[in-house]
Symmetry: C2
Subunit: 391 residues, 2 copies
């Protein structure tokens, strides 16, 4: 079976963009093309998968065809993948499988979202529509509300308080401070994050990621063509995904995401490593509680210990065993829904190759993981990456 | 490399449904499950791909997770695929590749659309959004208008008149008359179709497909597990897809769909057959002119001869070399956007196995083709099927 490597990766800055969908996509794609070490022509791409939730405020259907025709990919098979905020995590998985299938040697996986030209009402709609509609959204439950329920329940079940979440927020803002691609580059103090504007009790403004515009794009290649493009690839050694009930009330527990646990187990097994081998992880911290739960669900700490893990600063860059969200995560780097999954991969590609800003480089990293969640955990894609190929 | 067969297929009737998205999907999925000859349990499914454009009037995001959790597929990796009206044609291709990749043995590809509870304005929006927005939709060009431009140009370039399109309409209504799954089952005379209400000159009401609700679902299996499910599979011997410029004005010609031509060439080559070997084809006749162009682009007749092909009744069931749209096509069977692609596959599965209503069974069919187009030709997926496996 063919193995798959990443040979190029690029993105736009996350934040408020003046340019439209086509311009943003072209910028991310050409940044990826130019990141390839040896000669690369976009006409070498065989197939493309693009994740997007709101496809330009719900205005630009047939999105994948629209975006690829102006970025050197005209004519190839393209499609949009939608799985709420896990859209491009699944685009990555499908691109990986396209190469595994032997049908393609070079495949693009990417994602894009343009949200900041929407009215607040429409923005709320496009966020809310990714959760359960019948039992949650139409009953008035917002996404911050959904995760606030998880946080309250977690504090009830385990020894943890909002202070643990504050630590996560402070860490991620610190990680993102020097990230030139990040949406929010602010040094946030513990007191400021703790006493932020209340969004959904117990979550303050500093527990919630921003809504960003952005695009991201990674170039995958089959093992037998990798050398054409680079001598320094990053291998995808594990790809797995899972789903769960969409509505919270159907789940046996709301203090763990079963889809994350199942996807992680499979991805580790495929890669032949375990959680303790991971040096850095980009995890889906749409809210700080989501990162806390992810550190448990992904096996970085045991169940019930996520609060202590955060309190101890175990995920801080170059301080603990694993760096959690070196990019700043969704909290600081930003969250352009459909772009987030492959945006995590862009960070990992650059971190493992030692190419991020020096001040925020994770040292001696060999293995990495990305964790991309759709809705409040209904879909999840986990990928495990290595400097070395797992043969 | 593993080969892929269809071992089950089911759909809802196309038309106006009272039930919602979840009910429609469950009906199509369970019809597919029950069509499997030997024992089949939905828990045997490894992965799912679901095509949808408007995902319940734009209300039900994270669609794939929502639909699968109540149809025995909870927990597996699922995603929605959007490529306008070619959404489930691409879902089928991605499902096929998932099996080819060795990552899955049994995969679901399906599609769904619920349109008839929308206001006429919102319905028009969800149709129009699949074409070019900046240069076409916002300038007032509707989808019937887009295809009307193609028809007028075709009549200008080649020897053909609207009467040829009328023949296509009459044929497809005749084909669909006994199809219990069809939206519009009416015996339509030449005069009635010719003198129908004008929609976009030269296209009358009888040149335009209806907007339908519906869902469809096919079960694919890897060669080494096929025998567990059936001794009578239908093999997917070729799968190919392509894209083209979204806006008409960018294309060198609007009387041919380059994406169709490119996808068809690859699919035939992969299957090791040519157009003249195809016994029946489900083609994307969103408008009658689209079928006329498809008969040329797919190689059933040569360029410029599509009018004569239609005049001669060459695509009529059991009369010519190839039966075009035995189901009635989008014109009579209906067009529930995201469900249409895999709906074509449901028809082919049943036709090749001799399981449709006796009065409309295509006789002695060995090879079949499905042709699913997104927008006005920006995306296209072509699949070639056989009673025998192309080894």
């Amino acid at each position: 079976m063919v193995d798959v490597a990443i040979v190029g990766a690029g993105q736009t800055k996350y934040g408020n963009h003046q340019s439209g969908m086509k311009g943003m996509w072209a910028e991310a794609a050409y940044n990826a093309f130019q990141s390839v070490d040896k000669d690369f022509q976009p006409k070498q791409i065989d197939e493309a998968y693009i994740g997007s939730v709101a496809f330009g405020g719900g205005q630009l259907g047939n999105t994948a065809a629209l975006l690829t025709e102006h970025s050197g990919m005209k004519g190839i098979p393209v499609r949009r993948v939608e799985n709420a905020c896990a859209s491009s995590g699944f685009a990555l998985r499908d691109a990986w499988m396209a190469i595994k299938s032997g049908q393609a040697d070079v495949v693009i996986a990417g994602g894009i979202e343009k949200m900041n030209d929407l009215t607040p009402e429409r923005k709320r709609f496009w966020l809310g529509v990714s959760g359960d509609t019948e039992w949650e959204r139409l009953a008035g439950l917002t996404f911050p509300g959904t995760y606030a329920l998880m946080a309250r329940r977690y504090f009830h079940e385990f020894e943890s308080t909002h202070d643990d979440l504050v630590n996560i927020s402070v860490k991620n803002h610190w990680h993102g401070l020097d990230n030139e691609m990040a949406h929010i580059r602010k040094d946030v103090s513990f007191d400021k994050a703790k006493n932020g504007f209340m969004v959904a009790d117990p979550l303050t403004l500093y527990d919630c990621c921003p809504t960003s515009d952005g695009a991201s794009c990674v170039i995958l290649a089959a093992d037998h063509v990798v050398k054409q493009f680079t001598d320094d690839p990053v291998w995808i050694n594990g790809s797995a995904a899972a789903s769960d009930y969409l509505a919270l009330h159907d789940r046996p527990s709301i203090t763990q995401l079963i889809a994350t646990q199942n996807a992680a187990k499979k991805a580790y097994k495929m890669a032949g490593i375990e959680a303790h081998n991971i040096d850095l992880a980009e995890v889906h911290d749409c809210f700080t509680i989501a990162e806390l739960l992810a550190t448990e669900d992904l096996g970085f700490t045991k169940r019930g210990n996520g609060g202590k893990f955060a309190r101890d600063g175990a995920g801080r860059r170059n301080e603990g065993d694993v760096c959690i969200n070196p990019s700043g995560g969704l909290k600081s780097k930003g969250h352009p829904l459909g772009a987030t999954g492959t945006g995590q991969t862009v960070e990992i590609f650059k971190q493992l190759r030692g190419e991020v800003e020096q001040s925020r480089q994770v040292r001696d990293a060999e293995n990495a993981l990305s964790h991309n969640v759709g809705g409040s955990g209904a879909t999840c894609a986990v990928h495990v990456y290595g400097r070395n190929r797992n043969e």
